[in-house]
Amino acid sequence: MSIWEYANPVKFMRVSGAALPWLAIAAAVCTLGGIAWGFLTPEDYKQGSTVKIVFLHVPAAMMAINIWVMMLIASLIWLIRRHHVSALAAKAAAPVGAVMTLIALATGAIWGQPMWGTWWEWDPRLTSFLILLLFYIGYIALWSAIEDPDSAADLTGVLCLVGSVFALLSRYAVLFWNQGLHQGASLSVAPGERMSEVYRYPLYVSMLGFLLLFLVLVLVRTRTEIRRRRLAALQAREMRA
């Protein structure tokens, strides 16, 4: 029994179908619970009630980056071991990642308006996220432009690889270009810089919720892709017959 057995579409459909309802419930509870808990936290002495936005902003930003990493891994698995489910999972993840990036940017802009006095600042972190959004858009556009599914998987896989290198490169180039306003990482391990526990626990719940939500969405979207692929295969077989 190895993990590669799940690369079999039939097995994947069976296992994911059985797990989905439970995962969906857990995702809904954690996401909505985390957000609601965050909404009810007390005000920060400096930021006022805008501190509540962190429970959306940080999990979305975290997922925006991690989803790209997951797409990179899935693309590599496809390019090296040719498992179709892996390529489809990368395809399924991209729109979710784009939405997460959009949420991080939107909540950041809305928060920045009263706090920094501007909707947008060409700060390294903000700029990097904008660039990440461009890469997501290019990746999704390439998937939808190519008709042959295997070629599409190959080409988007190569693009994801090259794009990852350049996204990382841009991250550091941007740092060189402009030093920013954005505060450092929200969840620092260094003592004394930590967020107070009142904010930390709802944030953990919310992050877990976003992660589970992403898992559910990827599974659902991958199942959609498998079904579409199967339908296309059946129709092609009938055409030949």
Binding site: I131, L134, F135, I137, G138, A141, L142, A145, I146, S151, D154, L155, V158, L159, L161, V162, G163, F166, L169, S170, A173, V174, F176, W177
Partner: protein, 218 residues
């Protein structure tokens, strides 16, 4: 391999406008900017490095889809794929031909357009240096984008969408060289970064481009 390069250069010049078109576009772009921001030297001078680099980027983009498209249509790309030279070398040569017909003319023309935008005199040298180091990377990355979109019917727009984000690091370091040069600072650090990016791109991207071409020729 030399023969292939010569053939590509001959094709580009004979097709008409291979050399001239990108430079003409560059000129129009640089001429349009003052209409947008006003003719004052104080307004143009600080943005001149950025305009020149963005202009070079866009001019480079114009002719990218032709790197492989013509050869793909008449089938000579299939012949090249089965030729004794590796496909990686073919893509690198194609990028080189694109650079000679587009990048090099831009480098030569840029100082003249710099005058139009009131670029300070001492920055002109750095403008040439930065473009000379940076434009080969633009051509090579463009060849990668062209290789990915070669089989598509409406690949042009998609090509721009895929390639432009890849140009960001080159653009950042390229303009930084000129800005520091114009202020009389020391541009060694951005020059090294830019050269590093170009070297890395030249070494690695041909493999990605060749892989994409093989998929499209399947």
């Amino acid at each position: 391999m030399i023969a292939l390069l010569k053939r590509d250069l001959a094709l580009a010049t004979r097709a008409g406008g291979g050399f001239g078109l990108a430079v003409a576009f560059f000129l129009i772009l640089c001429a349009l900017v003052p209409f947008g921001v006003g003719p004052e030297t104080s307004a143009l001078r600080p943005i001149a490095p950025g305009i020149l680099w963005v202009g070079a980027l866009l001019s480079c983009l114009l002719s990218l889809d032709r790197i492989f498209a013509l050869d793909h249509e008449d089938g000579s790309l299939d012949l090249l794929a089965t030729a004794p030279i590796p496909l990686e070398a073919v893509t690198a040569l194609k990028a080189l031909a694109h650079w000679i017909t587009t990048g090099l003319p831009l480098v030569v023309a840029a100082p003249v357009f710099g005058i139009l935008l009131h670029l300070p005199g001492q920055a002109t040298g750095w403008l040439i240096v930065s473009l000379l180091i940076g434009t080969p990377a633009l051509s090579m990355l463009g060849a990668f984008g062209a290789a990915i979109t070669v089989g598509l019917r409406r690949g042009g727009l998609l090509l721009s969408l895929l390639v432009l984000p890849l140009y960001i690091p080159t653009l950042i370091f390229g303009t930084e060289i000129i800005r520091r040069g114009a202020e009389g600072g020391d541009p060694t650090t951005p020059i090294l970064f830019l050269a590093g990016i170009t070297a890395g791109v030249m070494a690695l991207v041909p493999f990605a481009a060749a892989a994409a071409l093989r998929v499209n020729l399947r």
